[in-house]
Amino acid sequence: MVEGQITIEEYRTGNTEHSWDLKKIKTAHKVLATYSYKKGEVNKGYANRTLYVNLTTGMIKEKPVTDEMKKKFTGGRGFGLKLLWDSIKPTTRWNSEENELLITTGPLCGTTQYAGSGKSLCLSVSPSTNIICDCNVGGFFGPYLKFAGFDALEIQGKAIEDVVVVIDGEKGIVSIESAPLEEINTHLLSDQLTQMYATENTDKSRQKVSVVSSGLAAQHSYWGCLNFSFYDIRRKVPRIKQAGRGGLGTVLRDKKIKALVVKVERFDGVSNHPADPIALAKVGIKLHREIHNLDRYQCNMRAVGTGHLVEIMDAYDLLPTENYRFGSFPKASKIYSPKFYELFTKIIPDGCWHGCTMACAKTVDGYTVMTGPYKGEKVTVDGPEYETIGACSNMSIWDPLWILEFNFYCDTYGIDTISAGTAIAFYMEMYEYGILNKERCNGLELCFGNADAALELLHRIAQGDTGEFIKVAAKGARRVKDWIIQNSWGEKQLVEDTGMESKGLEFSEYVTKESLAMQGGYGLTLKGPQHDEAWLIFMDMVNNAIPTFKMKAEALHYFPMWRTWFGLNGLCKLPWNDIEPANNVETPEPSKVPEHVQNYVEYQNAMTGWNVTKEDLILQSERCYNWQRAMNVWMGRGQRKDDWIPFRAMGPVTEMEYVSRKERYDKQLVEKLGLSQKDVEKMTVREKLTVLYEFRRGQYKKLADAVYYRRGWTPNGVPTPQKMKQLGFTDKKMLKMLQDKIDADEKNGLNVWGGTYEKGEQLPSTEKRYWEK
C-alpha cells in the first residue's frame, strides 16, 4: 500500500486503460447552436447572471440576477426555485417539453478556504414524485460554472439527437453539439469528454474541466442520477459525485443530453472576490485546524468517509436490514468501516472540491469488476458512502466487494444507489412472502442477499429489457406497489406498509421506527423522504431531548430551515456537525453547533459584504422553504395526504419484527399506551401489533399537526398568504393561488387537525383560521 509523499505524476491506480480515437469522436460532433458571451468577474460571490439553454429551439441567452432576486432567494436552490416558477406550469411533469433541469451554485460556492464549499444544487420536476426535486452534489461543475460566468444553468426543451452542452469559460462560448459516438455510461464518457475538452494534454489542464453525465440505466428508469466529475491529478481519472435523488439523471437523458461540460481558464483562492478575503481565510483556517485536531477522535471522516456510520447505526438498531425490518444484523460487522478502510486508497486529499479537508470522498482504485459488460476491467470506484452501504445492508448484502460492485454499476449506469437499494430491498421482501416470485420477476431470484440477482436487475434495466417486471421495477417502489395491488398478488395494506417510499421517492437508509421526530424528518419534507432536511434520531430517541410534540415541532422547524441554508449558498452540510469544536457539548444547544453557526454568519458576511445575523440565515431559508412548499401545492401536492409515510417507518409491520424486539414493544404498551402488564401478557402478537399500529399512526398525525402549526401553515399543510407576505413575498399569482387552495380546503373540510386528541391533550391551536390573526 502506498503510504504517501509520492510524486503526483508517478502514482498509478492500476485501472484498465482505454485508448479511444478522440479525434474521430470529436469530429463527429455537429455544432447545433453557439452563443458568445462577455467574460466577467464574479463579485462578492455572484456572477450576477444565469445561463438559459433551450434544446428544442437552440436558443441560448443570459438572464440578469437582480438585487431583488438575491434578497428573496439568496442563491443556489433559491435561484433554482425562482427560475422554475418563471418557466414551468402546475401541470408540468418530468418529461414535459417545458420541464427544466437546473444546476445552480450559490454565493459561497467555489470558495476554497472553508471546507465543503463546492456544492452544486440541481432541480427539476421529478419522475418519481411529480414535484420539484432538489439535490446537492459535489464535484467541480458548480464552482467552474460560476467562474465561467454564471450563477446558474437552466436547460429547457429536448434535443432530437444526443447532445453535449459545452460552456467554455476560456473562450466565452456556450455551444450545443451533437455527440453521436461517445459512450453513455459515466465512467467512460466522463473520461472521454474530460480528455477531449482539456485545452492541453496535461493533468492540470484536465483538472479545469468538469462533466455532468448519467448512464444507460437512467433512460429506462426513474432512478437516474447526475454524476458530477472532479478530475483527480493523482489518480488521473475524473472521479464522480452524485446528485442522486429523484431521477434528475432520467430528466437529463429524456432531454437527450449525454453530458454537460464546463471548463475554466484559471481560478484562484479569491476568484469569488469576497468582500473581506482576510476574514474569510481566518475562519477557514480555524476550521481546517479543528478538522486536523479532532476528526480522528470524532467521525474519522478523513480515513473512512461517511462509512463510519455503519457501526454506529448497527449498534443503535438503526442500520436498515432486510427492507428496514431490523435495525441491526449479526453479519453487519462484515461491512463496518474498517473493512472498507482496508480497500480504500489512502494517500490523497479526497475532497470533492478543493480545500475540503473533511475529505470524505473515498475511493477504491483498481477494483476488478465481477459482472456485466465491464467484467474483468479494473476501475476506480467512488465510495461507498454510508447510504450506499446502507442500501446494500437493506438488501442483506454483507460482502464489501459486492457493495463495491453495486456502487460501481449504479454510478456508471447513472442510477441512485439509495432509491435502487431501498426499492430492491422491498422487492426482495415481496419475494420472500411469495407475493413476487421468479416468474413474476422475469426469471430473477430476488431473495434477500442475492447480490447477483440485484446486479442482474441493474444490467437488464441498463440494456432496456422489456420484461414487465424489469420495466416497472425500474420505476421504483411506488409503481411496484401499484402493480402488485392491481394484480391482487398481495394484501394491499401489507404492500403499502412495507414499500418504503413517500411521495413516490424511496427512503434513505435509516430505521426510524423508534424516533417519531425522525419520521417527521422523512415525511414532513419538501421533496420526499431523505435525510438532508433533518436528522433527529439521536436527539429524539437516544438523548430524549425533545419529548413533547411542541419540542419535536420546533426541531422540525429549525433544522430543516438551517439545513436548507447550505443549499442556498452552495455548501455541504458535513463540516457543520460532522466535526464539532472540542467544547461544543458544553454550549447551551450543542445540537446546533453554535460556534459553527457563527462561522457561517462570518463567512457569508465576509463573502457578500452583508451584515447578517444567525436569525437572518434562518429567514433566508424560510423564504425558500415556504416557496418550494407553495410550488408543491401549486402542482397539486404538498399537503397532509402527501406527507404520509408507510407504517414500516413508524413501527413493526410483521409479527416477526414485533417478536424480534418483543421486550421493547411490550414495555411501550404498558408505559406509553397504559395497558396493564397482565393484559399485555394475555394478548396475541397480532393483537399487540394492531394496538401499536393505531397508536403510532395517531402519534404521527399529531406530530404533523404540531409541525404545520409551527411552520405557519394550515392544518392541511398549506403555507398561507399571510406567512408568505410576512416573509417578504408579494407575487400576486402565488398569493392568490394559496388563498384559493385554502378556501377550497375549507369547503372540503380539510382545514382541521389530523390527530385525535383526548381530554387534557393540547391542540396546536383551538382557533379557527388562526393564520389570519
Partner: protein
C-alpha cells in the same frame, strides 16, 4: 524520475541568539520585498522564559499530500516548495501543518513557507542560524490517515 534524497534544514543555536530579528527581516524581503519581518516572515524567533526559540518549517513534507492541485512539491534541493501560480489558496496545508510553519499573510491568499534559501543565515550577525543537510527518508512525514491514529 530522480528524487532528491537530502534536504537542508535550519538549525538554531539558541545560546547565540540575541533577538535582533534580522533573520525575519531578511526572510520577509525574500517573500514580500519588505523588511517588516513578523507575520511576513517564514522564520519566526519567539522569546520565551528560557531564551529564544526558532519556529520554521522542518521540511518533513506532510503538506505534500494535502495539496489538491499539486502546488506543493519537493524541489531538486529537497526543500518543500509552494508554487503560488498553481496554488488555489485553500489553506489546507496551513491548517494541517503540525507545527504551524506553513504561513498565511494578509497580503495575499497564497501561503508561504521556508524555502531553505539561506537568507536568514546570512543576515544573522550572531551566527545563530545554520543550514544543515539531512536525509529526507529520515525526516519525511505522511499525512495521518490511519484508523484511530
Amino acid at each position: 524520475m530522480d528524487h532528491p534524497t537530502t534536504v537542508k534544514i535550519l538549525k538554531f543555536h539558541a545560546e547565540k541568539c540575541k533577538g535582533c530579528l534580522e533573520c525575519e527581516k531578511a526572510c520577509s524581503q525574500v517573500h514580500f520585498k519588505t523588511k517588516d519581518g513578523g507575520e511576513k516572515s517564514a522564520i519566526r524567533i519567539v522569546k520565551t522564559d528560557k531564551g529564544y526559540t526558532m519556529h520554521v518549517c522542518n521540511q518533513r513534507g506532510l503538506c505534500l499530500d494535502m495539496c489538491p492541485v499539486g502546488a506543493l512539491t519537493r524541489r531538486k534541493n529537497g526543500g518543500v516548495w509552494l508554487d503560488k501560480d498553481i496554488c488555489i489558496g485553500c489553506q489546507a496545508c496551513v491548517g494541517f501543518c503540525p507545527i504551524g510553519a506553513m504561513r498565511k499573510s494578509d497580503i495575499r491568499i497564497e501561503p508561504f513557507k521556508c524555502i531553505s534559501c539561506g537568507s536568514c543565515v546570512r543576515a544573522c550577525p550572531e551566527k545563530a542560524l545554520e543550514l544543515v543537510e539531512t536525509s529526507i527518508a529520515k525526516i519525511q512525514q505522511v499525512v495521518y490517515h490511519k484508523l484511530g491514529v
